[in-house]
């Protein structure tokens, strides 16, 4: 077990975004996180990466309680993430963006080594040719790849992917899925939030479903997809949901 | 002893009202478009001169002239916005800070060239009122009253008129306001114009009490920063309350400590509040 989320609660004013959420992630697994918009998925990632303090509960990483640590220290320990709304460092080149990851994340390399690492990762995600371009000048699918590359370059043990497939066309989705499988093959644990059902069902080892900040199901993809509560709260008719979600994934940026 | 306190309180209230009025324009512009108007002081000084010339050459009483100065200020404020600010309104803070500072340099530079920096004063004698042993000049009292009236007008404008509502919705969410059919360019220009108009009005009133030069707005500008962080952004009442607090502090502490420490105290308050009051002030982007 690499990550344990234990009874995490977080509210914003009156709104409870996460309520007593607990689960464990095994090393080397891909865990999918599903749930309607506003369910608290991104908030969960923020809690794990330390973007804000949680109200209650614990986050345990490799048997160490990291609940109070700031994000940079968590990154150094090997937790990397992407952002649902991409955050490129606009005025820096693609290469420099990725070097920030390799310089300051778990790898904590010097400039020379982090450059080598960054180039390797850029090759891997297919942005090598764009390395000299300013990050602000990339298009959205490229920015998503950049997010991923930056996280990967830090040599993380676990990587949190927040809707990296949203807004991609089918060809881009399948090439991104290849990249994700490649990451798994390197032995990196993956937590991924996704709306694209067929994608998440195909790649995940386990899936959890969040609704209104609460975990309502956990298990294998099939178990979760057939869980009556999930079907009711979220999927409705699985076939219909699949089509709708595909549509939505395409439309939302 | 007691009368000294009463005098200080009365004087502090009257001055505080003026300070509040002076800060409202800065507060409005800051709140609506997230721009810190570093030409605020220059416009206050321009208000002083406008009032002076109205009184000197056209023999218009400064207290009647207020209306002209306000209107004049709105017009040049709007022009200033369109010329110097609109293009960069969404750029990082540095751009808008520097743009408004350059406006200040231009106004003060031209002002120094045309009017020199010899002090001037408006020749106005309206007698005075005694409260116990305290003698309050009538001009000071009128200034306080006019500050209240102007603030009340502004409050009415902001909350009861269509334009005022447009300004408030633009300040809450520019994109949404645009979608709802509000012309944001015109609204932002108007907001900046009103901000400048109020600054000039405050200047025109201040000129009836103190002698001034083209540089005299600077002090009010710095005080306005203090007031804005004291009273919070976005409400005219907050600015007025902040002004009163500052006016009272100024007049009361000088009973105990030398006047020369007052600026130090004010800036200490400014920095202290900025650092300590985390809600709304910190991490705003």
């Amino acid at each position: 077990m690499i990550l344990k989320v234990d009874n995490v609660t977080k509210s914003f004013g009156g709104l409870v975004a996460l309520k007593d959420v607990s689960f464990e992630v095994k090393k080397g697994q891909i865990m999918g996180i599903i749930g309607p918009n506003g369910a608290g998925k991104t908030t969960l990632f923020n809690a794990i990466s330390g973007v804000f303090n949680i109200d209650n509960g614990k986050v345990i990483f490799k048997d160490e309680d990291i609940t109070g640590l700031p994000p940079n220290k968590r990154a150094r320990k090997g937790i990397a993430r992407t952002h649902q709304i991409v955050r490129p460092l606009n005025e820096l080149s693609v290469l420099e963006n990725v070097m920030v990851g390799s310089c300051f994340g778990k790898l904590n390399a010097n400039l020379g080594n982090s450059r080598d690492k960054a180039l390797e990762v850029l090759e891997f995600v297919g942005l090598y040719d764009k390395r000299e371009v300013l990050a602000g000048k990339l298009n959205v699918p490229e920015k998503k790849r950049l997010e991923l590359a930056r996280a990967l370059a830090s040599d993380p043990e676990i990587i949190l992917l927040d809707e990296v497939l949203a807004g991609l066309n089918p060809a881009e989705v399948s090439s991104m899925l290849d990249v994700i499988m490649g990451i798994r093959d390197q032995g990196i644990t993956i937590l991924m939030i996704e709306h694209l059902m067929h994608a998440i069902m195909n790649v995940s080892d386990t899936v959890i479903a969040l609704v209104y900040g609460q975990k309502i199901a956990e298990g294998s993809p099939e178990e979760v997809a057939n869980n009556p509560e999930v079907v009711e709260a979220y999927l409705g008719d699985p076939e219909l949901a699949l089509t709708l979600l595909r549509e939505k994934g395409r439309r939302s940026k | 002893m007691v009368s000294a306190w009463i005098g200080a309180i009365l004087s502090g209230i009257l001055l505080g009202l003026l300070y509040g009025l002076a800060a409202i324009g800065l507060n409005l512009i800051w709140g609506v478009m997230n721009v810190i108007n570093l030409s605020h002081g220059a416009f206050i000084a321009l208000g002083m001169f406008s009032s002076y010339f109205l009184a000197h050459y056209l023999h218009v009483s400064p207290f009647l002239g207020v209306v002209f100065v306000l209107g004049f200020g709105i017009v040049i404020g709007m022009i200033t916005y369109l010329v110097s600010l609109h293009k960069i309104i969404s750029a990082p803070e540095l751009s808008t800070l520097l743009a408004t500072y350059s406006v200040s340099l231009i106004i003060i530079g031209l002002g120094t060239f045309i009017f020199t920096t010899n002090p001037r004063a408006i020749d106005i004698h309206l007698g005075s009122v005694s409260v116990g042993e305290t003698v309050l000049p009538m001009t000071k009292i009128l200034t306080g009253l006019f500050s209240i009236v102007t603030t009340a007008w502004f409050y009415f404008f902001l909350y009861k008129t269509w334009s005022g509502k447009a300004i408030r919705s633009v300040s809450m969410n520019r994109d949404a306001a645009e979608l709802m059919g509000i012309n944001t360019t015109a609204t932002l220009a108007l907001a900046f114009g009103i901000g400048v108009g109020l600054a000039m009005t405050a200047g025109s009133l201040a000129a009836t009490i103190f002698p001034f030069t083209i540089l005299s707005g600077g002090g009010y500008e710095l005080k306005s920063f203090v007031i804005c962080v004291l009273g919070g952004l976005g409400s005219p009442i907050g600015a007025l309350v902040g002004g009163l607090v500052l006016g009272l502090i100024e007049n009361l502490v000088t009973l105990k400590i030398p006047t020369s420490y007052v600026p130090f105290l004010e800036f200490l308050i400014l920095v202290f509040i900025l650092i300590v009051k985390p809600t709304g002030l910190l991490a705003r982007r």
């Binding site: 990466s49 460092l89 990851g101 310089c103 | 743009a99 350059s102 600026p263 920095v271």
Partner: protein, 320 residues
């Protein structure tokens, strides 16, 4: 992040500039180059917090004043030599910045800018009241102080070379930071502080350090400037408009790179010199500066060097 070629021409070019006055023996030229060097040091150091890190230190002149006062005090009352006094001034300014940074660097955007103005004004107002450092009148040197340097004339040359030394070191440091891991972290903060934090940059520590370094050189510059002037007073040492001049220089040249700050400083010195003596413009220099600043902000926000860098890929590595 290649090594770049900028320093290969920049340092020799500066050394030539520095040697011109002694070679020609021209005192007017020395005064003008002294100012240039001073502006370059100030602009290049401000650029570290403003251009690299993205924090608008509007009251940056406060560190020049603090350094100036510390050094002046040591020289006047303890007969300390300029060099150690200057270093003390620089360190004092850096410590002040570090401590202050812990508090004000939590503020973002315009709030930080206003806080730095507030700090500058507060310090000025305080110094105005402190009698042991001369209050509002300030402090004056007894001209005997210059004896240790071989007389007033020699002392002025000495301060000239000292300023030159500061400038060269400031440029070197600014350049090395730009090319370092530290610099990369700072630029990440500038672009998106929250993202930088999540990527592992210890933003708090980096910002404070950048602020301290960017205060260190102005502190030393203040020391040399007021040594040469022979007196120091609060109004002069904490003059907000000098802060704006520093920002102006950085903007004019182009922010975020050493060559930009340097170019801005040189152009600004020439421009100011021209405006101040030109019979046509001398009374209007302030208004004209304002108009130029406005034009830059509106139409060339990337500055002179930024403008060239954008257009020529080949020149980019020469202009960092």
């Amino acid at each position: 992040m290649e090594k770049g070629k900028t320093l290969f021409w920049l340092i020799p070019g500066l050394i030539v500039l520095i040697l011109l006055p002694p070679l020609t023996g021209s005192v007017t030229m020395r005064e003008s180059v002294f100012l240039m060097l001073m502006y370059v040091s100030l602009a290049v150091s401000l650029n570290i917090i403003l251009g690299y890190t993205g924090y608008v230190s509007f009251g940056h002149i406060v560190f020049y004043g603090i350094g100036g006062y510390i050094a002046f005090y040591l020289m006047k009352f303890y007969n300390v030599h300029l060099i150690p006094a200057m270093v003390a001034g620089g360190i004092g300014a850096a410590i002040a910045a570090y401590a202050l940074g812990e508090a004000v660097l939590r503020l973002r955007g315009a709030f930080f800018a206003i806080a730095t103005i507030g700090v500058n004004e507060a310090v000025k107002a305080l110094v105005n009241n402190l009698d042991f450092i001369g209050g509002a009148e300030g402090l004056f040197f007894n001209f005997k102080i210059y004896k240790a340097y071989g007389g007033a004339a020699k002392a002025i040359w000495f301060s000239y070379y000292t300023m030159a030394g500061i400038t060269l070191i400031a440029i070197l440091v600014a350049y090395l930071i730009k090319k370092s891991k530290f610099g990369l972290g700072l630029m990440a903060i500038r672009e998106d502080e929250d993202a930088a934090l999540v990527l592992g940059v210890s933003t708090k520590h980096y910002k404070s350090l950048a602020y301290a370094i960017s205060a260190f050189f102005p502190g030393m510059v203040g020391a040399v400037f007021f040594f040469k002037a022979g007196n120091i007073e609060p109004h002069d040492a904490f003059h907000l408009i000098k802060s704006i001049e520093m920002i102006f220089m950085v903007m004019l040249g182009g922010y975020g790179n050493v060559t930009g700050a340097l170019t801005g400083a040189l152009v600004y010195e020439r421009l100011k010199g021209y405006l101040l003596v030109s019979p046509l413009f001398k009374d209007l220099h302030m208004a004209i500066s304002g108009a130029i600043l406005l034009l830059i902000v509106l139409f060339m926000p990337q500055g002179i060097v930024g403008f060239i860098r954008e257009r020529s890929k080949r020149l980019r590595e020469w202009l960092e």
